[in-house]
Symmetry: C2
Subunit: 243 residues, 2 copies
C-alpha cells in the first residue's frame, strides 16, 4: 500500500522532492478552490456582490495553478519516467487538477448568480437549500482533498458514497423551486438564478466524487470509475483487509 513513507525512501532525493512539490502544489490549489466555493456560497446568501466579484477575480489564479501543476506533471513524466505508485501519483494529480479547476469554474458561476441576484433582487425561495447543499459539497471537497493528502481510501469511499445524498437533495430542492415558480411566475428569473447556483453545487459534488475515485486509484491501484458504489466498496474494503 502506498504511503508517505514509501515516497520518502525513494532512491532519488531530487525526484522525491519533485513529487512532494507537485503534491503540495496540488493541495494548495485545493485549499484555494475550497475557499472559492465557500466565498461563492457566502456571497450568494449574503447578497455580497463585492465578495462575488472577488471570487471571479481569484479564478485566474486557479487557472494559472492548473497550468503550472500540469507542466510539472509533464516534466516529471518526461524526465523521471516514474513507475508504479509514483506514476499513479502523477496520473491522479494530473486528472484531479482538471476536476479542481472545474470546481473553481462552478464557484465562479455561483458568484455570477450572486451578482445577478444583487441586481435583480433576491429570490423569494431557495436560500436554505443553497446553504444546506453548499455545506454538503464543501465538506465533500474538503474530505476528498484530505483523503488525497493522507492516502486514505476509506475516506475517499465515503465521499463518493455521499454524492448520492447530495443528488437526492438537489432533486428535491429543484422540484420545490419549480412548484414555487408555477405559483409565482413573476419570480421565475430570480428563482432560476438560485436553480443555476444549486446546479453548480451539484456539479461540485460530482467533481469531489471524481477526485475521491482518483484517491482510490492512487492508493489501491484500481480504476473504480463507473463500477458502481457496491463494487467500489468491495475494492476499497476487501483489499483493505488483505493488505
Amino acid at each position: 500500500m502506498i504511503n508517505k513513507d514509501s515516497l520518502t525512501h525513494h532512491i532519488s532525493q531530487q525526484f522525491n522532492a519533485e513529487l512532494e512539490e507537485v503534491r503540495s502544489h496540488f493541495l494548495a490549489m485545493g485549499g484555494l478552490v475550497e475557499k472559492q466555493v465557500n466565498d461563492a456560497v457566502t456571497s450568494l446568501i449574503d447578497a455580497d456582490s463585492g465578495l462575488a466579484q472577488q471570487v471571479r477575480e481569484v479564478d485566474d489564479q486557479i487557472n494559472q495553478m492548473e497550468r503550472n501543476i500540469d507542466e510539472e506533471c509533464v516534466r516529471i513524466l518526461a524526465r523521471r519516467q516514474p513507475a508504479a505508485s509514483d506514476l499513479r501519483l502523477i496520473i491522479s494529480i494530473s486528472k484531479a487538477v482538471i476536476d479542481l479547476e472545474r470546481v473553481g469554474d462552478e464557484a465562479t458561476k455561483i458568484a455570477k448568480r450572486a451578482i445577478l441576484l444583487c441586481e435583480e433582487g433576491e429570490s423569494p425561495r431557495g436560500y436554505v437549500e443553497i446553504r444546506h447543499i453548499g455545506d454538503q459539497v464543501r465538506k465533500m471537497v474538503r474530505e476528498a482533498l484530505d483523503a488525497f493528502a493522507r492516502f486514505d481510501a476509506d475516506l475517499a469511499l465515503s465521499v463518493a458514497q455521499y454524492d448520492k445524498t447530495v443528488d437526492r437533495e438537489y432533486k428535491t430542492a429543484l422540484r420545490e423551486l419549480v412548484t414555487y415558480m408555477m405559483e409565482d411566475p413573476r419570480s421565475i428569473s430570480r428563482v432560476l438564478n438560485v436553480i443555476w447556483a444549486l446546479r453548480s453545487l451539484e456539479r461540485i459534488g460530482d467533481h469531489a466524487r471524481n477526485i475521491a475515485e482518483l484517491v482510490i486509484y492512487l492508493v489501491r491501484g484500481t480504476d473504480v470509475k463507473h463500477i458502481g458504489l457496491t463494487r467500489m466498496q468491495e475494492e476499497v474494503q476487501g483489499k483493505g483487509k488483505d493488505s
Copy 2:
C-alpha cells in the same frame, strides 16, 4: 511538427503499433460519442423514447471504452516511457477521453429529458433552438475529432473559436424560453426540460473546445488552456508560419 510520418518512423515497431492502437481506440470512441449526441438530439426532437432509451443503454459501452483507453495509456506510460510528441499524444488522449466520456454523459442527460418530454407532453417552445444548437455542437465534436485524427491545429483553433458563437446562441435561447415561461407558467416544467437539454448541448460545446485545445497542445506543444482566443490564435498561426 508532429505528423503521422514521424510516428511511423519510430524505432520500436511494437511501440508504434501500441500508439496507433490507442489513437484508433480513441477515435472509435469519438465516433460512438458523436453518434450518441446525434441520437439524443433526434430522440428529443422526434419524441422517440425508444431511441432515447437506446442512448442511455449505449452509455455503458462508452464508459467501458474510457476505462480501456485509460488502461492502455497507463500501460504505455509505465512500459514505454514515451518522450516528446509520443508523450504528448498519450497525455492528450488520456485527457481528451475524459471530455469524450462527459460528452457521452451529456447525451444521456438529453435522452433523459427526451423521455420526460414524452411522458409530460411536448414543450410549447424550444425545439428550433435544440435542433440549431444541436447541429452546431455536433459539428464541433466532429471537427475536434477530425483535427485530432489529422493533427490539424488550424481546424482545432476554429473549433475553439466557434464555442463563443454557441455560448451566445445558448444565452439568447435561454432568455426567450424564460420569457415564454413567465407568460405561460403551466408550461414551466416542460420548458425546463428543453432548457436542461440546451444546457447539456452548451456543455458539449465546451468539451469539444477542450478537445480542440488538446489537439493544439499535441501538435504545437503549447498548453493553450485559459490563455484566451487571441493568444491561442497567435500560438497556432504564428508558429504555423515559422515551421
